[in-house]
Symmetry: C2
Subunit: 364 residues, 2 copies
Amino acid sequence: LLAKQPAKGTKLPIYMGEVGPVWAYPDYQLDCVVADPKKGSKMYGLKSYIEYQVTPTTTNKPVNHRYKHFDWLYERLLDKYGSAIPIPSLPDKQVTGRFEEEFIKMRMERLQGWMSRMCRHPVVSSSEDWKTGKRKAEKDETVGVMVFATIEPEGLQDLDMIEVEQKCEQFSRFTKAMDDGVKDLLTIGNEHWKRCTGPLPKEYQRIGKAFQNLSAVFTTSGYEGEATLTDAMTAAGKTYEEIAQMVAEQPKKDLHFLMETNNEYKGLLGCFPDTIGVHKAAIEKVKEGDKLVAASKITSSEKTGMAKRASTMSYSLQAEMNHFHSNRIYDYNRVMQQYLEEQVKFYEKIAEKLRQAHSQFTTM
Amino acid sequence: LLAKQPAKGTKLPIYMGEVGPVWAYPDYQLDCVVADPKKGSKMYGLKSYIEYQVTPTTTNKPVNHRYKHFDWLYERLLDKYGSAIPIPSLPDKQVTGRFEEEFIKMRMERLQGWMSRMCRHPVVSSSEDWKTGKRKAEKDETVGVMVFATIEPEGLQDLDMIEVEQKCEQFSRFTKAMDDGVKDLLTIGNEHWKRCTGPLPKEYQRIGKAFQNLSAVFTTSGYEGEATLTDAMTAAGKTYEEIAQMVAEQPKKDLHFLMETNNEYKGLLGCFPDTIGVHKAAIEKVKEGDKLVAASKITSSEKTGMAKRASTMSYSLQAEMNHFHSNRIYDYNRVMQQYLEEQVKFYEKIAEKLRQAHSQFTTM
């Protein structure tokens, strides 16, 4: 907090927007498409790995990257911005089964989600790390809390400590509460997923089989003219078997995205306690400032500098929270819509199937 | 089998219909409406009972009857027709909880089902027991296998024993197979009922609560302009709670009737082994006939008489099976239609509710 301003490096401006302090957003939104996973090998086939094609929308030139390259980028971003900005972890590193198609698809989807989120961030996306070489980036001294020295609340008054503290408390409460809510939804979603892919379709299948079995018995009656009934009952039975299939496949179409989004947010929210912790520590330091001045441990102007830097940190946190909120509103609006849309389609399709099955019976 | 023809009593004619031997069906279909259960008491309130209002469509005059009156009728019909016609048991006698509303409603429904089935039967419905007093009915000697003596296959040739045996085998196989199928469906239906009224709605409720909780957290963000999202998420959450309610109440609307019908058939099918047993025994007797004639235990004309009576029994069984099949086709066609219709309504209503919930989100 008493560190000197770094000599080099670009400044990260914060403006006053409609919702409060905001980062400066770039005119052009960077994005990267992660696609086309391919198995590569080196050392004459001794080592195998998966390479993903990463295409930035700026250059449109695909570059192949392995998981460890993403990991390198993650570590860099965490070192550089971690104190001010929640940098979510990459999808879990996994050793077994990592060449299985299902797993590769899932990891690619999650790497894509991570990349898009990083690209969407105005500070992270403007980072030099995307362009500069590995060696230069690793020499970068602007790491840890140094990042705050590069942040410049443009034309904004210094905040008083009471306001800084209140904001910090509010964010802390909110992120904690949202973390609980998200984890709760994930738990319930997981259970629902299990039911939808396990016992529920099994039950529909058994209902379907029971109708078909009874219909098969009916055909052995020797009684004339019940083919309409037995055909209709068989069709109804098959319909329930199809419904079983639909039920089992549905979570991939709707619950999946709801779960992935909430998983991403769980990751993001998990970073906030650290970020907020840095702020709380700074606030405490400033509070001790008066005593330190009285004890002549620091000068009065050093104390003023500390308060100014804490104010900058608070602007940074507020800008970050506003970025978080705006993304959250966008993401949840989108994922809830998608979930409900797919759910509507699902129930409509079942109703339609059953309507068809119903129409095969004769009205007596 | 060697019994004398009873002197008195009306004859039960069997004709050759399109589907084979059939009972003579009355021009007017008797039916009884069981309704309006009322608690009665006697011995100055020491004994309580439930009285049902039974109204025959013929007289349209309601008469109050207790369960034990139905039971008396059941016993009479079983004594008189049990060898030829499956007389299904009454709904279980129950001691505890018999004054609870739910139970009374269920018993009334089942007594109604039993009455309607008995009224639908051309032989049973033409029985004098419906009209004659208790004392006279109990003097009736036409009980047990005597009923066959009153059956008259009009203008129909005697069947040969091979055909009689084949028919008997076929009916035995069919009723056994249907019994298995019905029991299977009942088992699955019971499990489905439990799931639909237990864990499944609980899960939808929890999903609904999770959406509402997350929405409530969002409202504490302090971020401007997310009311559209939080309102929509709360509405979506409430929708899932409503769906939970619908899921829990649905079995009463559809599965219930499917289960009741299958329960009725389970009862009916349970009577067939006895009915068929009587026939098998008669067939065996006729087969022994030649030996008995050789041993001069019976006369040749007595043996012819036995064969004739076995033929009559077979006509009776065939008429009964044809009655059973025609009812079965009608009942299953109706109940399957009803089930599917209610299922369609159910899924359509869910889709509609979710469509409404979806429409509250803004497209970004």
